[in-house]
Symmetry: D3
Subunit: 132 residues, 6 copies
């Protein structure tokens, strides 16, 4: 099994609802270092899992749709806690949509899975992994 | 599949028995950077894998039970080589005990697995992964 | 010349005023990894630059006064762009106040300088250094 | 499941053939940080996955067979794009050959898998994982 | 004293002349992680050392002039060993030229120094620092 | 001003005397990631600050003289707290002795300073810098 990972980041504001979140119930923010991993059982004719340049562009487009925003004001996330683990899923699902729309080219049809890790600090991170 | 990881560390002394360990048969020590990963198939009502604050506290309690000690003097490890891989299992098993004792709250019943990685230097690390 | 550095972090929301900031004029946020360095020409009788435990506590108190907040709402920062470089100065100056108030003990009188680095992502960071 | 990972690196020149590679079609180079992970279900009598010193030596021998070379001139890679993901497989396969030749000792018969990750920059890396 | 640092990278091929370089006399390559630090005594009216977006763009332009090349073929480096320390100076000097040509705007006139660090692996790096 | 840095590590046991050290008064241990920086105003005829291979060898020899030991038993450190900052000085001073004994060759006569940083965890490190 092969995989290729590309890294980007996003800087957002948000707040959480629920006592479990303690001081994070107040409006605050985070830098998320975002790692997107593309999995595939075999390499293509060029010997790649995916065109890494296009993979980076697609990831950049996805994080660009979240960056420099207050997620509390986004209709997509109304009434939802935008936790690190939940945002990992959002990034992964949006990447899958883009792959299916052809964003990574025909070569990407061979991809079998995507994993996304969001690092919120040097002490904590979350991941979401799904088939494709 | 979702996961959340928290990081802590511990500083211990120990020695190893067996020629395979070479100079590490002498009393020496290590800083272990300890990453504990909690896995779960779905998020709970708060959109989290686990209360990350409590996860960090439970991990801190486990590493606190090993930190600033000479492991050669611990009865738990009498006659045992406290290698990096073995200590990864110790930390994981102790975390599981704490989860089962309710340390992470009722939400933690949905956890399906725990993985622990101990980094002994910038050049070597070991992991242990188990179901929960 | 000796130095000791301790690391902590803070997660805040803020926005910037001025066209130079582009999309960062919108309310967003950041995780700042905060490194505080204490400098001293000679070691004390215990062979330390500073009590590292107390240094970590003082830094934690300073970042705790900024964490989980929207800096746009803080009266200390009214009408001010809370850039990474400016916040590095805020953290350093607040640490100096605490050192002078005795927060690091008498041993800290020998300190000659403090430097603070705030890492806003894997791609950018800022520092401020001052005498003490 | 246990694993142990050791890190080494190699510095090579190469070029790629195919429009998908854009400017990387020109002769250029890379430092690859190489992480080799050895997996095993149980620990041996010494409480290790593998003799970590020998694991590091075997990995060093494998990367030494690629380092400080122009891969375009290597007969092993004639007509082949030596992408990061392809080189991860090369390193893993060569490690497996060495394990089977006894390079890690009899204890290594218990190994169940090997994974190799090559980091080409702070923004991109690739992995290959196989059974053993 | 304030500073702001931005990170980029470049992937090049080259060879060295001189016995001191051992196996690195052969054509090989490197990924250089490039950190450019801009120093300034006081912040400008926007509370910044430099427009960080433009600083990143200027650095990207400089590393873009070196990336994906065989430095042995560059006329700028004819008969010269393109060591890590020498390339740090090249990047710093080219950044200074761009600052003087107005690439960072009028605000950059207040800069007092530039430092550039090139990381060639997880085990070695080199820096060059100069006034501006 | 140029500099070159090489990284190595050492794993030691020790204990501290003095209430300021709290739980670290017990026998424990540490992995120190050791970075040695060599400074020089100009490059030599080969375009290097120092022969990086020999620099790495000399550093390895110095950390080898401390590794896999209980520093409490070393006569060099009798009655002395082997703190991170003190050990940074020990490594730097021993490197200077080796440079003066010719360990880095004649080219090293141009070196103007050495700095050593010891990282004891992801949260704390110490440095010592001296002229040469």
């Amino acid at each position: 099994m092969f995989s290729v990972t590309v890294r980007d980041h996003m800087m957002i504001a948000h707040s959480f609802r629920g006592e479990v979140f303690g001081p994070a119930q107040a409006l605050h923010g985070a830098t998320y270092i975002v790692d997107a991993t593309f999995r595939r059982a075999t390499l293509d004719a060029d010997n790649v899992v995916v065109d890494i340049g296009r993979a980076a562009e697609e990831l950049h487009a996805v994080v660009g749709g979240l960056s420099y925003r207050n997620l509390d004001d986004e209709t997509d996330f109304a009434g939802v806690n935008t936790t690190t683990e939940m945002l990992a899923q959002v990034v992964a699902d949006r990447l899958v949509e883009r792959v299916r729309a052809g964003g990574l080219g025909e070569g990407a049809w061979g991809l079998t899975g995507i994993a996304v890790t969001l690092r919120e600090s040097h002490l904590a991170w979350a991941s979401y992994e799904r088939a494709l």
